[in-house]
Symmetry: C2
Subunit: 243 residues, 2 copies
DNA sequence: CAGCAAACATGCGTGCACGCAAGTTTGCGT
DNA sequence: ACGCAAACTTGCGTGCACGCATGTTTGCTG
């Protein structure tokens, strides 16, 4: 199930996709991202403008995809890779943190560029939605099929938490979708809030509140044993939440 | 903070918004929703097409907004209205269910119409994102200011759960004419799965997995008392999760 | 009441997303 | 090798979102 012969057609397709990615990123860095039209990207990649939209639904997606690439699959794999004994919440948290720590930016000019422009910022945030389905799958895997719906909700929760963490991380600007709350904001200097600043810190902080939900789901959906019939040794399925 | 004199300008603005809503809905029902252009809506409302986009960012928003109206504020208010003693998870769940049970569709031809067309369906689902900010605010209210970030995450989790519930709810919807909601019922007893079919059922099922997270947040963020200094009597902040 | 500044409606122009209907390439069975 | 069907690319046309500049309305203040 790993594409024994990748097939010529599929390879060309991926090549085109990659070419568009590269072209979009390069042009966006060279000129401003606002000075790049779809037509330019397509031309640089050697395809027609119309074809561009067969690969990317929006102008920003190509640029952002250079950063996100196949992060979805990576996160799912990272979760699946954790030994079955660890707390699900921990497995997911670490997998997410791991995949977001190295932003995968080849050029250090890229990140400031994305965080600056609102359109790119939004497109970047939208990519987090992509991790939901794979996550739901691996979570359901661990929860057993009885928790399929629960897995979906938990995965969605994780996705939402990640989105919030990212929003906070690249803050100095804000607002997406509908109206922004904004009014009664935390001007009060309560220091015990998030120690944040670093992305990993924010991610952990955002995911922490969901841990009890994972524990509960895990607890009441699988009082079973490990893959070899060995009773699983758990690392604290419950208890006070960390940090 | 309730606009003592609403102001003439603001009234006109709301009137225009309402006119656009009504026109969009009416035209969408009369002809198919695909046979309505922004230009038509604008004309029917007596404004220019350009003005339409000053009120709604997309063509579908106007149609859908007839259903969603001010649901965001209603949910927040509903949560705030619950007595302080009840479990936060219950308060939120009930508030959400309450606001989504009466879909607020004046015309029964409207719902089938929205559930059918993918574009409208997506636009409708997008509106759920709007409840996040108000929800976060009221949740933060109950959690105390120390849980502000937690509140955001929980609110986002609720939003995601609602979205999933809605997706599942209007999945079996299809066909041109008849759109009967809530028919396929729970299979027999093997499953503790969801008995779903009805929207309220799906909402509760989707929100249930998050309850432990609410409990934990509530537990460790506010060992305090009620608004009048009276120790709050809680309805089981912890314990096995219901249903 | 006069006048000014902000908010708003509107026209115009640009770039974009996407359906549709060809033309072209790839994969596969015979 | 051959040829067909599906997949892909491409040009074209339509409707849409939105920035910008301008004329008009509203609300406020001296």
């Amino acid at each position: 199930m790993t594409t024994p012969p990748p097939g010529l057609r599929e390879r060309k397709k991926q090549a085109t996709r990659e070419a568009l990615r590269a072209a979009a990123l390069r042009l966006a860095v060279e000129r401003g991202p606002d000075r790049v039209r779809v037509e330019d990207i397509a031309e640089a990649a050697g395809v027609s403008p119309r074809t561009y939209n067969n690969y990317f639904a929006s102008r920003e997606q190509a640029i952002v995809s250079a950063l996100t690439a196949d992060r979805e699959a990576r996160i799912a794999a990272a979760v699946a890779a954790r030994p079955a004994g660890v707390r699900l919440a921990d497995a997911v948290t670490e997998a997410v943190v791991e995949q977001y720590t190295n932003t995968g930016a080849p050029d250090h000019r890229v990140l400031p560029l994305i965080t600056t422009r609102p359109a790119l910022r939004d497109a970047f945030l939208d990519t987090t939605a992509g991790i939901e389905a794979p996550l739901a799958e691996v979570i359901a895997e661990r929860l057993g099929d009885v928790g399929e719906d629960t897995a979906r909700v938990l995965a969605a929760g994780v996705t939402a938490a990640v989105r919030i963490a990212l929003e906070g991380w690249l803050r100095p600007a804000g607002g997406a979708g509908a109206g922004e709350a904004g009014s009664a904001e935390s001007s009060a200097g309560g220091g015990l809030v998030v120690p944040s600043g670093s992305l990993p810190g924010r991610l952990r902080a955002a995911l922490a509140p969901l841990a009890p939900a994972f524990d509960a789901a895990e607890r009441n959906a699988r009082p079973r044993e490990g893959p070899a019939g060995v009773p699983v040794e758990r690392t604290r399925p419950s208890g006070g939440r960390p940090r």
